[in-house]
Symmetry: C2
Subunit: 433 residues, 2 copies
């Protein structure tokens, strides 16, 4: 877990405000669920690997005392949520009577996973999801893709690229290759490694897992008809049309994806791409229909991903509710924004008023108030002995100007503060030697 | 714990944005600490009753297996934070090298306490604190009071009233009454009940606890010289001056409070009151100097409170760091705002575009986009069979206008939507019977 310094929080706050603004304009509304959920809900949620990483909260009082000795699995009754989708399904099952139909939810909040710490992975991190519940039409997919891409572009990440597939198309491809339904999941896991190990790597691994040679050659004939190499199969609308011709079972799902592409493309203009990709898999087992993922620049890892999961809510509610969601990888986006120069939240000028202990405090505070009414951030600070060092420190902290309080000067002049690094750069520049 | 519906989240988001805006203008900067802290930090923090309410997180793997059987106190290594002050002290001790001096922090975030649920109390709730670390002068108290009152007024809670006292004045009063230092804490706890049980009640309880009759009569002579009844002692600047004359040990702390009042009053103008109150106690044991509390309207309970705690950080850092903080009771403020009519976050007009499945989706989405560029919130919805009921539902959900999509109409007319309750009220009004 980590502490966030002011500069980090300001960037995060600014980013989530921009995302929220876009999502709100698309008619989504923010909800909140508690951090703690019943441990049974979390542990029985098809969450896969994540279920092993749940932080469990100890029972209390008499409940704790009545735990059977040695039964560590009985010690906890609550757990910290590991994602926002399982709590959303529980939330909808509880609150649907008070929610519009269909319901368009925004969730931005922390989740917890007891992972081994590594670069860019944290045990508490923020997720940022939109979901549409109660809408079976591809209108849901279209709105999610438009809103998510708009948000990403608004953050300053230009020209994102969306890959689109359908779990049912993947299943039809596996069937076409003669893979038994019970082995589909493993088949997809291997196919999902394409961008890491390439076509030959996928074929090698399928072979090692005991898939028939005929399955491998049918897969190659279908996805790589020109025997291309590389870490991506041929993709795009023409490929979808060809797959529909060669595997007729794909056609109804293909037609739905075509509607998505035809509707999104004029909205996207030149700002983002949307592309059918028959090898997009997405990890989660709960997807039931279209799936999508967003890539940015040359990054291999996705910055957003989602899909349709029509059967999750039904398990809690007793009747099926169609559902579709899109999640921005908030921590990854923040890392990218931190690396991009010049994107900072604190665009307002920050001014510091310096004074010593001898002046009239009411006058000092009145001066600060007058400066503040101009919309500026104004902070008061006692003058230190070494004023030069103090001014350098204040500049490095991000203050852009300072005022030394003087009695009887109602509108003092704000003088500029320059960061040490910039000062040094300027001095080097100005030095003709 | 509770789920928050969209309307609740919108009010909360709007309130915290307003608070954040004011605090930022005063030069405070937001930080974040993780929800989970080391259990030893939490359990050894002078947190009083709150320490009993910690949600403890179970150890994992080998660590859990090596717990001595029967030693339930060894089962947890992490806990959910029960306030934002203890984590702030830990944060400052860890990160002070990267923080300005003095450091002005904003924290808005959830805390957890395993309390019995009751009206207005939740097991997960939001706290909203500002703190100034590293500043021993009363400039800190003044900035905290000004910023907090400004934030409260900006929320629409007009004319808050601040009560001000000093822990050291309370100690001097207790000494003056002949109460031994070891019994001060209990003496203050009883005095703190004044607004519930009145002067006679306090005296009765002090007597029952075995305080000398002379202590009780000296207290009455000092705080109620005219033998007044009621749930508040005489208060204000004149009372402070009199106390300083009668108990000279109070004078240095009295002079400091006078500086606070003299500086805050011209800033407050007619917008809020600041008043010395010799019976203000504040619960927390960690306060070391000035303490303050804000009342609103006729509510007995405070909506904000704080004070100086100069010794907390020293315990973690090894050197003392002066510290002073002010916390807004966020949940209480939200309850007040919910009760006040007409304060709603979603001031932007929300429009819904209705369409059926037969139209060209690209055209429908283009219509929505054109409406959205006007700054409005625009949501797309499939038209249901019973359009009248659907329009009523949409109005009740907060939509203010609707458009029925029509082919070849590029700029459709937005028609108003009226909530069922308002409709009914109008019909009653218009009905001359």
């Amino acid at each position: 877990m980590r502490d966030l310094l002011p500069r980090e929080v300001e960037l995060r706050d600014s980013a989530s405000a921009k995302i929220l603004e876009v999502y709100t304009a698309f008619g989504f509304r923010r909800i909140e669920t508690p951090a703690l959920e019943n441990i049974r809900l979390l542990a029985g949620s098809d969450g896969g690997e994540n279920e092993k990483l749940i932080y469990k909260v100890l029972k209390r009082g008499a409940k704790l005392e009545s735990v059977t000795p040695g039964r560590d699995d009985e010690l906890a009754d609550l757990g910290l949520r590991f994602d926002l989708t399982v709590p959303l399904a529980r939330y909808y099952a509880h609150n649907h009577a008070h929610l519009p139909d269909p319901f368009k939810a925004i969730q931005i909040g922390p989740v917890w996973r007891a992972e081994r710490p590594q670069k860019g992975r944290f045990r508490q991190f923020t997720q940022c999801d939109i979901d549409i519940l109660g809408l079976a039409s591809e209108v849901a997919e279209i709105e999610l893709i438009l809103a998510t891409c708009e948000a990403i572009i608004t953050l300053g990440l230009e020209h994102p690229r969306v890959r689109l597939n359908d779990r049912r198309i993947l299943a039809a491809v596996a069937n076409h290759c003669g893979v038994e339904p019970s082995r589909h999941a493993g088949f997809f896991v291997t196919l999902d490694k394409l961008d890491k190990i390439g076509r030959e790597g996928v074929e090698r691994e399928l072979r090692a897992e005991g898939h028939a040679e005929s399955a491998i050659s049918r897969l190659r004939a279908l996805l790589w008809p020109s025997d291309a190499h590389g870490r991506r199969a041929p993709h795009g609308g023409d490929v979808l049309d060809r797959l529909c011709r060669e595997v007729p079972a794909i056609e109804p799902f293909g037609e739905s994806l075509r509607t998505v592409v035809r509707t999104v493309e004029p909205e996207a203009g030149q700002r983002f791409d949307l592309d059918f990709d028959p090898t997009l898999v997405r990890g989660m087992g709960y997807y039931t229909g279209p799936i999508f993922e967003v890539a940015y620049a040359e990054d291999a890892a996705a910055i957003a991903g989602g899909g349709r999961y029509d059967r999750m809510i039904g398990k809690l509610l007793g009747r099926e509710v169609p559902a579709c969601g899109f999640s921005i990888g908030f921590e990854r986006v923040i890392l990218i924004l931190q690396e991009k120069a010049g994107i900072h939240a604190g665009e307002r000028q920050r001014i510091v008023v310096l004074f010593d202990g001898t002046e009239s405090l009411p006058d000092v505070f009145a001066t600060a108030r007058r400066l503040r009414t101009g919309g500026q951030v104004v902070s008061l600070t006692l003058r230190k002995k070494n004023l030069g060092k103090q001014l350098d420190d204040l500049a490095d902290e991000g203050f852009g100007g300072y005022v030394v309080y003087q009695r009887d000067v109602a509108s003092p002049q704000v003088r500029p503060l320059v960061r040490r690094s910039l000062k040094a750069a300027r001095e080097t520049q100005e030095d003709p030697a």
